[in-house]
């Protein structure tokens, strides 16, 4: 009844093409941004930041990155963990080599370095497709982790191969290092997540995104109508790796503060992010957020429910958690193979007709 286009007149093509054409959606979006920027930083405590919101935002960035590559451009990648490691180790090297430069610059540079590495590993995509490309990116995953373990220069010759994030500030506020306050951590990740999601949304509905989707849907047809597969595929790899690199840099510098390549950026991480976009919905920015929320928040929620509220043994709860999350993944994929984003879209369509569906 309220949720509908009627009465919301668009007088220009620009208005007509906007992301949220329905007024209620638009208001909801602004309200969400308002709460996220103006309310949450004042009420957030370190548990909410470190265990819930910061990982959620970081994984959302990584999921958007992978979604650009896999969801929009159709190139399957299992190298996400390795590319996140590139971001993390780049930011570490930059932070320790140039302590005077603002950390935001380092994080962006880390993304740029990852973009270059991603393009390099994206080269095989010009010759191979599908499962074969997945194997090539798997090689990137193992090679990069091996490299960061093997060459001591990457971890500044520390005895244990661990990298530690020293304290760096933005406008006098610590955003990395142990003294970082919860709002600073949260806001840093939020700024990156919002800006990157905005960029991704606008890229994917512009010419670049259309080229990616053309390649995804049928590469030969795309080539015939004039899409250059070389630039389309490599730009998808570059943009995707840029996002994933920033997620890795934030994961190491803001969230964890210390990391080692094989533990923090192993193959499990690649699968985790891939599951996020499959559950969230391929080719959807909202889906990236929904998938990240599902896989980051649900385990924490279940743990708190079973262990803290119900007092069950921790091992039993941990096993049940795996079973429940696994079961829910199967359930969602059976009910809606196109992910949470599709469920959300269906809900909105139903809402438009409500309460007179016929």
């Amino acid at each position: 009844m309220i949720y509908r286009e009627a009465g919301d007149f668009k007088t220009s093509y620009r208005d007509d093409g906007q992301t949220f054409p329905i007024r209620l959606d638009r208001w909801g979006y602004y309200a969400l941004l308002g709460v996220a920027f103006l309310v949450v930083p004042f009420v957030i405590d370190s548990y909410w930041a470190n265990a819930v919101l910061v990982p959620f935002l970081i994984y959302a960035i990584a999921a958007i990155g992978l979604n650009i590559l896999t969801g929009y451009a159709g190139q399957v990648s299992l190298g996400t963990g390795g590319f996140m490691a590139v971001g993390a180790y780049s930011v570490y090297k930059l932070m320790t080599a140039f302590p005077g430069v603002p950390i935001f610059v380092h994080i962006l540079l880390a993304g740029a370095i990852t973009a270059v590495v991603g393009m390099l590993f994206g080269l095989p995509s010009l010759r191979i497709k599908g499962f074969y490309l997945a194997v090539a990116t798997l090689a990137a995953q193992f090679f990069l982790v091996w490299l960061f373990n093997k060459v001591p220069w990457f971890y500044n010759y520390s005895a244990s191969g661990q990298i530690n994030a020293p304290e760096r500030t933005v406008f006098g506020w610590a955003v990395t290092g142990p003294a970082t306050s919860a709002p600073a951590k949260y806001l840093t990740c939020l700024v990156f997540a919002v800006v990157l999601a905005w960029i991704a949304r606008n890229l994917t509905r512009g010419m670049v995104g259309r080229k990616w989707m053309a390649i995804r849907d049928m590469d030969i047809a795309a080539e015939i109508i004039g899409v250059n597969p070389l630039t389309a595929k490599l730009s998808a790899f570059a943009v995707s790796s840029f996002f994933v690199g920033i997620a890795g840099a934030l994961l190491f510098s803001v969230y964890l503060g210390a990391a080692e390549a094989s533990e923090a950026f192993g193959i499990n991480k690649s699968f985790l992010v891939l599951f996020m976009i499959i559950i969230g919905g391929l080719g959807s920015i909202f889906g990236s957020f929904a998938g990240a929320a599902f896989l980051v928040l649900l385990p924490v929620l279940l743990k708190n429910l079973l262990v803290v509220r119900l007092g069950w043994p921790t091992d039993l709860a941990a096993h049940l958690e795996l079973m429940i999350v696994g079961g829910l993944i199967i359930f969602f994929l059976i009910v809606e193979p196109h992910g949470l984003a599709r469920l959300w879209r269906l809900t909105k369509e139903k809402l438009r007709l409500w309460p007179f569906p016929h």
Partner: protein, 426 residues
Amino acid sequence: MKLKLATVALGAILAAAPAMADLVVPNLSYRTGPYGANGTQYADGFNDYFTLLNERDGGIGGEKIQTPECETAYNTEKGVECYEATKGSGALVYNPLSTGITYQLIPKVSADKIVLYTPGYGRTSAKNGSVFEWVFNAPANYWDGASVAVKYLLDQSGGDLKGKKVALVYHNSAYGKEPIRTLQDLSKKHGFTLTELPIDPPGQEQKSQWLQIRRDKPDYVLMWGWGVMNQTAIQEAANIRFPMENFIGVWWSGSEVDVLPVGAAAHGYKSLTFNGVGTDYPVYADMKKFVIEPGKASQGGQFVGSALYSRGMYAAVVIAEAIKKAQELAGTPAINATQLRDGFEALGITPARLTEIGLPDFGPEIKMSCDNHGGSGMARIQQWDANAKKWSLITEFTEPDQEVLNPLIAADSEAFAKEFNITPRC
């Protein structure tokens, strides 16, 4: 309305545990995953000793001890979540049993002013208390272990290791890489050649490394392994018929779960240790009476007396003694984490005190101070008897080679102090 209720419920569920009144010693354990078989025994020993103190003595100095458990699965992200979830409850000291999580927590506990006790694991240079104010790693650390192992090898080969070949099989992580620097220095000092063989975690796949060992024929193999990696390595060593008495693991590679799956072939395997094993200690009479028989033992007490159970219990003993010392110094039973740090720094556990607790000769003597957070570093060697299915201690407590270790510790802790702008306090 429904949505609102759901939001409120969600908020309540996601929020951390409420504050508690007693002395809180969170147990960041892991009972699942590839390291679960080892972690679960350690956690049981840790829990049971505090249960014993609560049941028999009414806690420490009249204050009950709570050990809220949180499952980390040896995963650093879950470890951070557990730390954040429990630190608000007045946590005094953490013992995460993971070198990765320890590295994660060292800067955090220093900012939050909570003690981190990492017996036999964690960051070795945390021994230097003037840089690492909140971290303690007594009674021994990895470099002590490496040095004691090499001393034992020296003994075995008649005081001379020149021209001998030693291979190090290690978990390719911060944990496994820790001893490399020390072993390199020791190899220069004693003239043996060191081969480093990394094994990627979790470590079920190590055929190629053992093929290399079979080809190179090293005189001794040292192992820094954990979880499933241990039993796989011992099985592979048995497969290539490597003499078990020349195969020495660090203390984390010396528990029943590591050798039992290999059966008779594991006979003679050796490992370092810094605590006693088995139930032949007087404390187990009380343990049986107050904890096991009333059914209060963690997981029903199925692992009582095992190597890792004993080590978990030993960690609890040291923490309990430090709490007691802190209560004496502070003059109040309800201590906070800062007072506990003082208690740790003033801690001295003599053999007489260990006997009093009911654990004679269970661990080395511990004497800590402001600049020494690592104790004496003494360790001993135990050997597996596959027929009797038990570990037997084959050496006395041995001092590590401090002449080699001290410069390394100074260098590594200085690097950390520089990185984090810490001025040494004592």
